[in-house]
C-alpha cells in the first residue's frame, strides 16, 4: 500500500541528490499568501547546496515558519518554483509527499518525543514508519544513539532525561533514516546555553559528514559562534544572505 501510494512519476524526481554541486533546496520567485490575506513570503529566491550548514534567522512573523513549511511541503507556494532534494514541490501530488519527507530529518524545538516510549523505541519508531526491516532497525537505532552519545540510555524514558538529552534523542531520530537534509526548527529553544552549543556542534558534525543542515534559530550568539551561512528574513523577504564565515548582519 505504501509503495503504491508513493508511486512517484519520473517527472517529480528531477535529480537524485548525489552530485555535490546540485542544489538541495532551490526557491525561484516563491511567494506565499495565506487565505486570511497574510503575505508570508514575497518573491523569495534562494539556493542551498549539498553539504551546506545554513542558519535561518528573523524576528517573529518574518516568514521563517512558512519558509520551513514550504520546504517540508506542509504548505504550497502560490507562485514560484520550489525544488527540494530533487523533488519539484510545485508539481508534487499529495500522495508523493511521504517520499519527499523520507529524504529529510526534522528536529523540533519541543523535541516531540513520545512519552510512553523508551529512547530506543522513539528512534525506532521513525524507522518502523518507513517500513524498515527489524534487523536494520536494531542496528541503525543503536548507531544513531551512539552517534549522539546516548547509547547507554536507550532504555530510559523521555521524562528521565534532561532537555538537552531529549533533544539529542530528537537528533538521533532525525538521523536514523540517513536523510540528505536535516531541518532543525529552533532546536536549542528549550535547552540551556551550554547544551545549545553542544547541540549545534553535534549538528555541525553531522553536516561535516555530508548532510545538509538548515537550522532556524533566534540565538544570535550561536550564529556568531559557528560562523556559517545565514539567511535573514524580514516581512516575508530575504534581507540578508551571508556566506559561511561572514558576519551575521
Amino acid at each position: 500500500m505504501i509503495e503504491s501510494e508513493i508511486n512517484m512519476s519520473e517527472s517529480n524526481i528531477e535529480n537524485s541528490v548525489t552530485a555535490p554541486e546540485k542544489p538541495v533546496i532551490e526557491f525561484k520567485g516563491v511567494s506565499k499568501r495565506y487565505a486570511n490575506g497574510t503575505h508570508a513570503l514575497e518573491d523569495v529566491n534562494i539556493t542551498i547546496n549539498k553539504g551546506e550548514f545554513v542558519f535561518v534567522v528573523g524576528s517573529s512573523g518574518a516568514g521563517k515558519s512558512t519558509f520551513m513549511k514550504l520546504i517540508m511541503r506542509e504548505e504550497r507556494a502560490n507562485t514560484g518554483i520550489i525544488r527540494v532534494n530533487g523533488f519539484n514541490l510545485t508539481k508534487m501530488k499529495r500522495k508523493q509527499v511521504p517520499m519527499l519527507r523520507r529524504t529529510m530529518g526534522i528536529i523540533f524545538q519541543d523535541f516531540r518525543l513520545i512519552p510512553k516510549m523508551s529512547v530506543y523505541d522513539n528512534v525506532a519508531f521513525a524507522m518502523h514508519v518507513v517500513g524498515a526491516p527489524n534487523r536494520r532497525i536494531r542496528k541503525e537505532v543503536i548507531n544513531a544513539l551512539n552517534a549522539v552519545g546516548l547509547g547507554d540510555k536507550k532504555n530510559s524514558m523521555p521524562n528521565e532525561l534532561s532537555g538537552g538529552e531529549q533533544q539529542r534523542v530528537g537528533i538521533a531520530r532525525a538521523l536514523v533514516n540517513n536523510p540528505d537534509l536535516i531541518i532543525a526548527d529552533e532546536p536549542t529553544g528549550n535547552v540551556d546555553p551550554n547544551m545549545s552549543f553542544d547541540i549545534v556542534s553535534m549538528l555541525k558534525s553531522i553536516n561535516e559528514m555530508g548532510t545538509t543542515v538548515l537550522m532556524v534559530t533566534h540565538d544570535h550568539e550561536l550564529v556568531r559562534e559557528f560562523k556559517q551561512r545565514v539567511i535573514m528574513l524580514d516581512s516575508g523577504r530575504i534581507i540578508a544572505d551571508n556566506v559561511a564565515g561572514g558576519d551575521e548582519e
Binding site: M1, I2, E3, E5, I6, S65, M68, K69, M72, E74, K95, P98, M99, L100, R101, R102, G105, I106, F108, R112, I114, F125, A126, H128, V129, V130, G131, P133, N134, R173, N177, D185
Partner: protein
C-alpha cells in the same frame, strides 16, 4: 505494505484499543445492543418462518356443524330457542344426530382437494378438549359441564386437504355445505404469525438502521479520541514520511477489534437469552423452536460482518477527515 508493517501496525491498533479502554467499552456496549437487536429480529423472523411452515404441513381444518348441542347455549345473536314446555326446539337445527353429521362428512369428502374426513362427535370433542386443557382435572370439568348445561361442543368434521395452494377455495366449498356452522383452521394463526413476522422485520430494519448509525458515530468518536491522544505520534509519523495508509491502519485495526469483541459478546449474550426464552417456549410451542446451534454460525457471521464494517467505516471516516485537516500540520501541533 510489507507483512512486517502489517504485523507492527496491527499490534499498535490492539494496544490502542486497550489503552483507550473506557471508550472501547462504551463502543462495545452500543455495538452489542445493536447486534443483539439484530439477532433478536433474525431469530423471531426465522422462528416465524418455521412456525408457518409447520402450520402449512398441518393442512387440517375443523368444520363445526350446526348441531343440537348449540341449542343449549343459543347462538351469539339469537335467543335460545325453546318449545312451549321450555324444552329445546331441536327442529331449528340442521344436525340432530350423529348419522346426519356423518352424511355431512360424506358431502365434504366429495369436494376436490379433500383427502380425508374424520367425524368427531361432540362427546369425543369434549373428551379431547378436557384431556388437552385439564388433564389433571378431567373428572371435575366433565361433571361441571354435565351438571350445568351438558356438552357445549358441536360435532365436527376433521378435514385433511391434499394441497394447501387451494386452501381458501376448498374452505369456501366446505362452508357452502348445509349443516356447516364455522370452520376453524390454523390459517388464522399463520396469518397472525406472518403479520408479526412482517412487523418485526419492518420495526427491526428501522431499529437496526438507527442503531447502526449510532454505533458508527460511537466508533468514530472512540477513534477520534484515540486520534487526538495520538496526535503527537501522528505528527511524527507524517514528519518522517509515513503514508496515510500507514497512519490509518492502526485506527482501522482498533475499529475492527471493537467490532469483533462486540460480535463475540453479542453471540454469547444472545445464546444465553435465547436459551432461557426457548426453554419456556418449548413447553408451549413444542419442538417448533429453532435450536440456537442451527443459527449460531450464521449469526456470528452477521455480527462479525456488522462489527468489521462499522469498525472500518467508523474509523476511516474519522481518520480521513483528520488527515485532510490537522494531520498534515505536523510542524505546529
Amino acid at each position: 505494505m510489507k507483512s512486517g508493517d502489517i504485523s507492527y501496525l496491527t499490534k499498535e491498533g490492539i494496544k490502542n484499543t486497550v489503552a483507550n479502554r473506557l471508550m472501547t467499552i462504551a463502543s462495545v456496549g452500543v455495538l452489542v445492543a445493536c447486534m443483539v437487536v439484530i439477532g433478536l429480529a433474525i431469530l423471531i423472523s426465522e422462528n416465524g418462518d418455521r412456525a408457518i411452515k409447520n402450520l402449512e404441513k398441518e393442512n387440517v381444518v375443523m368444520a363445526y356443524m350446526k348441531d343440537y348441542s348449540w341449542a343449549q347455549y343459543g347462538e351469539h345473536d339469537k335467543p335460545l330457542k325453546t318449545g312451549t314446555n321450555g324444552e329445546i326446539d331441536a327442529s331449528e337445527y340442521l344436525i340432530h344426530n350423529d348419522e346426519e353429521a356423518q352424511d355431512v362428512c360424506k358431502n365434504i369428502e366429495k369436494i376436490d382437494n379433500v383427502q380425508k374426513v374424520e367425524f368427531i362427535s361432540s362427546e369425543d370433542g369434549l373428551k379431547g378438549l378436557t384431556k388437552d386443557m385439564f388433564a389433571d382435572q378431567e373428572q371435575y370439568f366433565s361433571s361441571f359441564l354435565n351438571e350445568k348445561h351438558g356438552n357445549p361442543l358441536s360435532c365436527a368434521a376433521k378435514v385433511t386437504m391434499e394441497n394447501m395452494e387451494d386452501f381458501d377455495k376448498t374452505l369456501e366449498k366446505i362452508q357452502k355445505i348445509d349443516g356447516i356452522d364455522v370452520i376453524r383452521s390454523q390459517a388464522d394463526s399463520a396469518k397472525k404469525i406472518v403479520a408479526i413476522k412482517n412487523a418485526v422485520k419492518i420495526a427491526g430494519a428501522w431499529i437496526v438502521a438507527i442503531l447502526m448509525i449510532i454505533s458508527l458515530v460511537i466508533v468514530s468518536n472512540t477513534i477520534r479520541i484515540t486520534m487526538y491522544n495520538r496526535k503527537l505520534e501522528i505528527s511524527i509519523m507524517k514528519a518522517v514520511g509515513a503514508t496515510n495508509s500507514f497512519v490509518r491502519l492502526p485506527f482501522i485495526v482498533e475499529g475492527v477489534t471493537i467490532g469483533i469483541i462486540s460480535a463475540i459478546i453479542s453471540e454469547g449474550l444472545l445464546y444465553v437469552c435465547y436459551r432461557i426464552v426457548s426453554e419456556r417456549l418449548v413447553e408451549i410451542l413444542g419442538n417448533s423452536i429453532i435450536p440456537y446451534s442451527d443459527v449460531a454460525l450464521p449469526l456470528l457471521g452477521i455480527f462479525a460482518g456488522i462489527g468489521i464494517v462499522s469498525g472500518i467505516i467508523g474509523s476511516s471516516i474519522m481518520i480521513s477527515k483528520y488527515l485532510r485537516k490537522e494531520g498534515s500540520e505536523f510542524a505546529a501541533i
